[in-house]
């Protein structure tokens, strides 16, 4: 059979010229969509299956912490900032307390620093497990949720046994951590310590977390639907990520080998051996993969820390009424979501003159208009979910 090339050309051109006219419409997503991690609203211009000019509308959860901090004492502020990113409440406290300690010139005892480090890494595991539960769910895979949340509970139990709180520990004090009553050896004049058996329980919990990480990998990484929905979707090049201030796993997924645990000395991470996973493509898949690998690395750090934790006091000597001397400093930490920092301005009073809170999710989310331009509507959830944000961390 001879193919009539003219006819083929005619047909292909014809098919272009009779392209369907699709009416543009404005699509409003939220403010209560189940997979938006809080109260977020998106307004998109939709043409057929593609979204344009996506405008995130935030502020539904704005609590004005920066203003409130100006009328609170330092001890009261740690209770507030627990609630910025409630999925990893403990990790929010550390950079703020370190900033105040810097201005006061307080040396924190080593044991307290190790406890802070262990709890920070536990907060990271718990946050990343929530991500590993919710992200596959957003893409239609329900099972990983049960595996991930089961083990998150183990970690939360450990945090609770030390701090008394699952989500909002409020455990840091200027100069150390809060000595807890009713646990550990109680002799007169001895400060309270980690609960009895905590280190052993942590060891066995970390083994289980590592086993779960392997289970999650087997469940998700081989799933064809997940692969199809995440590989090559929502690619963010490194220079774009940096200009928008993306940090943490989102930045590393784009191939930037940068982790504040290695360059900032807010906690003694230099004493531990761990790797920083770095992605190659900057797509949704890489962002999921980063967080799975970081669970493993955090478990590794915790295992080393419980083996090498020094004994000693939990608190440095500080005055009963905390007054922070005049000065300004910025301390940032590698939170589960990215760079969390506090710019603290003190005038020597009981509370800060100004506290600027730099939260990771705010910058991570601000890339949405760029990342969602011209993509398929079903990919909105895939990309948004992969950025792992919490609206409390966006709105503050």
């Amino acid at each position: 059979m001879v193919i009539d090339q003219d006819l083929v050309r005619h047909l292909s051109e014809a098919s272009v010229s009779v392209e369907l006219e699709t009416p543009e419409m404005t699509l409003n997503i939220g403010p209560q969509h189940p997979s938006t991690h809080g109260v977020l609203r998106l307004v998109a211009r939709v043409d057929g299956e593609r979204a344009y000019d996506v405008k995130p509308v935030i502020g539904y959860m704005h609590r004005g912490y920066e203003k409130l901090a100006e009328v609170r004492t330092y001890a009261q502020i740690t209770a507030l900032i627990n609630r910025i990113d409630w999925v990893s409440g403990y990790a929010n406290e550390v950079p703020f307390i370190v900033a105040a300690e810097q201005l006061m010139g307080v040396e924190v005892p080593e044991r307290a620093q190790y406890i802070r480090l262990i709890l920070s890494e536990m907060a990271r595991i718990s946050s990343h497990l929530v991500f590993n539960a919710s992200y596959p769910l957003e893409l239609g895979a329900a099972t990983p949720l049960f595996f991930a949340l089961r083990d998150r509970e183990r970690v939360l139990d450990l945090i609770e046994s030390v701090t008394g709180g699952r989500f909002h520990p409020n455990f840091n004090r200027i100069g150390g951590v809060k000595p807890a009553y009713g646990s550990g050896p109680t002799t007169k004049k001895t400060i309270q310590d980690l609960p009895r058996g905590f280190l052993d329980e942590t060891r066995s919990a970390m083994d289980k977390v590592l086993a779960t990480a392997a289970e999650l990998e087997a469940l998700v990484a081989g799933n064809e639907i997940i692969l199809a929905r995440t590989k090559g979707v929502g690619v963010i090049p490194p220079e774009i990520a940096a200009a928008y201030g993306l940090s943490g796993p989102n930045l590393r997924a784009s191939g930037v080998d940068f982790d504040l645990r290695r360059v900032s000395n807010y906690l003694p991470y230099d004493k531990f051996d761990f790797e920083v996973p770095v992605g190659t493509n900057g797509d949704c898949w890489d962002r999921w993969w980063m967080r799975l690998q970081e669970i493993r690395q955090s478990a590794r750090i915790i295992q080393q820390a419980v083996d090498s934790i020094p004994s000693g006091p939990l608190q440095a000597k500080v005055p009963k009424v905390i007054k922070v001397p005049k000065g300004e400093t910025y301390v940032r930490a590698e939170n589960p979501k990215g760079e969390m920092g506090y710019y603290l301005v003190s005038d020597g009073g009981l509370g800060p003159y100004r506290l600027k809170i730099r939260s990771a999710s705010f910058s991570n989310l601000s890339i949405l208009p760029w990342a969602l331009e011209g993509i398929l509507v079903p990919d909105i959830i895939a990309i948004m979910g992969s950025l792992d944000f919490v609206l409390g961390d966006v709105d503050r």
Binding site: G59, H62, T186, Y244, W370
Partner: protein
């Protein structure tokens, strides 16, 4: 990069080298490098910092209201020059340097060039600074309110803006068992280092 591995510069040297490139004066306080630039060089300085000092990462932008009269919080102990200090924190992604650029704005004319063409991430931060402090960013694509509801009046992070809920019900309220430390009421006990039962 300004630093070679053999001779790592101190923070002071690093700050000075950034200031030499971008203009302005560098100070180091508690490990935080701050470069004070002139208001008319704001955008220009950050552009140079990005292109010549490798400060590609945009961390945050915000402001401080330096005010002698305050509605909330404690007033400053010393008389200062009234102004709004605008700050932008940018960093590199190799050695983890972070530089805070700062400039002073007179309260009567709070206009400055927008950084959105230098760092795309400045968009939301400038919207926040606009509504919270009333700073006008010239060249910003759309300074709509970010957090505050439509029709909200005032700039909440100004020191002249009262904290209404606090006026209605002073903190700490009657329900609080502890007094504010230092006010003469019973100061809240930091957990004592002794076991009460022992």
């Amino acid at each position: 990069m300004t630093a070679s591995p053999s001779e790592a510069p101190t923070l002071e040297e690093y700050g000075a080298s950034v200031a030499a490139v971008a203009g302005g004066e560098a100070t180091v306080q508690f490990g935080t490098v701050k470069v004070k630039v002139r208001r008319d060089q704001w955008k220009d300085s950050l552009e140079k910092a990005r292109d010549k000092s490798g400060l590609l990462f945009f961390s945050w932008l915000s402001a401080i209201d330096w005010s002698n009269q305050v509605e909330v919080g404690d007033p400053l102990t010393d008389e200062i020059e009234e102004r709004i200090e605008l700050m932008a924190a940018v960093g590199d992604l190799d050695e983890g340097r972070l530089v805070i650029f700062a400039t002073d704005l007179a309260k009567e004319s709070l206009t400055i060039d927008s950084l959105t063409t230098v760092y795309a991430g400045a968009d939301w931060h400038e919207r926040e600074a606009h509504e919270m402090f009333g700073i006008e960013f010239v060249g910003h694509p759309g300074l709509e309110p970010l957090y505050l509801p439509d029709g909200f009046e005032g700039h909440p992070l100004r020191k002249s803006f009262p904290l209404l809920s606090r006026e209605v019900k002073p903190w700490p309220g009657k329900v609080d068992v502890e007094g504010m430390p230092g006010t003469g009421d019973s100061a809240p006990d930091e957990p004592s280092t002794e076991n009460p039962e022992a």
